[in-house]
Symmetry: C2
């Protein structure tokens, strides 16, 4: 017997993927409030997304609601966490222990969402050999050697822009399959490599621009 997988998991649209964590946080909130069931209509009222859109998004996830009752809150939370990959442990290395890199090492929240940073790399003799947020910092030269022992597929990129591409190339040559790029640099990668850009500075620029527009109107 072949187990049926949830509806074409690898073809889920990115907007849906981005909305699912909203439903998850909403379901967690309902659970905190003591609710046992939650309907897409209730979620809709709270986060201002169309109930039919929510039902459609949730159809990708392996969870079934009951008519007039809605989804079992615990089951919904479990199904969403599984689906989003937050219950697996994805091991990662971090490259570049500067200000942002060091800050991310200290953010224990990431591990609750499935990202376990098991080591960091830098060349600064003042930090190589130390632990930051409980995570060991190795010299960058040790990367290839460590990759052979650790089962790591994700690299978090927090290096200066001047070496962003060079370090990316080195990561990929060593076997990294997904790069979480926090630099404002647009890195180039081969087709089969996943890149997730999270540029805090680009988000700041958008926010400043919108804020200026609002202030001008006042």
């Amino acid at each position: 017997m072949v187990l049926r997988e949830p509806k074409s998991m690898d073809k889920i649209p990115e907007p849906t993927l981005r909305r699912l964590p909203w439903y998850l946080s909403n379901a967690k909130l309902m659970k905190e409030k003591g609710e046992k069931y939650v309907s897409s209509t209730q979620i809709s009222a709270q986060i201002n997304i169309d109930a039919s859109q929510i039902a459609k998004d949730l159809s990708y996830v392996n969870v079934t609601g009951r008519t007039r009752v809605g989804y079992d809150v615990d089951m919904l939370i479990g199904a969403l966490e599984d689906f989003l990959g937050f219950t697996d442990k994805h091991k990662a290395y971090l490259f570049g222990v500067g200000s942002l890199g060091g800050a991310l090492l200290c953010d224990s929240g990431l591990v609750h969402f499935g990202l376990e940073i098991v080591g960091a790399f830098d060349i600064d003799p003042n930090i190589v050999g130390t632990n930051i947020g409980g995570i060991p910092v190795y010299h960058s030269d040790e990367f290839e050697q460590r990759m052979r022992n650790d089962d790591v597929r994700i690299g978090v990129l927090t290096v200066p822009i001047s070496i962003a591409q060079e370090i990316t190339n080195k990561m990929i040559a060593g076997g990294i399959k997904a790069v979480w790029n926090f630099t404002p640099f647009r890195i180039r990668v081969p087709e089969h490599i996943v890149v997730q850009n999270t540029s805090l500075y680009a988000h700041l620029a958008v926010m400043f621009n919108r804020l200026n527009a609002v202030i001008k109107k006042e």
Copy 2:
């Protein structure tokens, strides 16, 4: 005489705003390499965006290139930093000094991009009254009082999801005009308030999903 403002600054499309920091980091890199001029064709070759798109995006910025020579690198960097708001100091408060909030207080990189966090609020007696990353942590009850003295318009939201909406409402009632929302909670705000969502966890979910799809194909 009325000074002409750069081409309708408050109507610049968001995709353009998101690409401009890439051009900025690329121009900085060219400067580091000792280049005096850079053309949109050169930028295009390095970051894999169409040269005509780059020229169009840069037309929003107050900078003019010279035929066959390109843009003066220093002028381009200055114009982009000005335009993106990175040279102004935008004062901000941070709400919720947990793991991520504390990490952001330690990220001195934000101030180089125009965001100056001048205070943080929490209710935990162990951290209220301390300094984290040089930034004072106040009790949340002091927010309204402090708002009257400080010229702050931006609030960074890093509280637990259970109080994300409540704290947002409080921020706005106190005079905050823009909310940088790091929680995975979809906050609701009045129309004239700017919200910038930066959910690291949503980005993680997208990355895990894409990575799983790649691994399955191998």
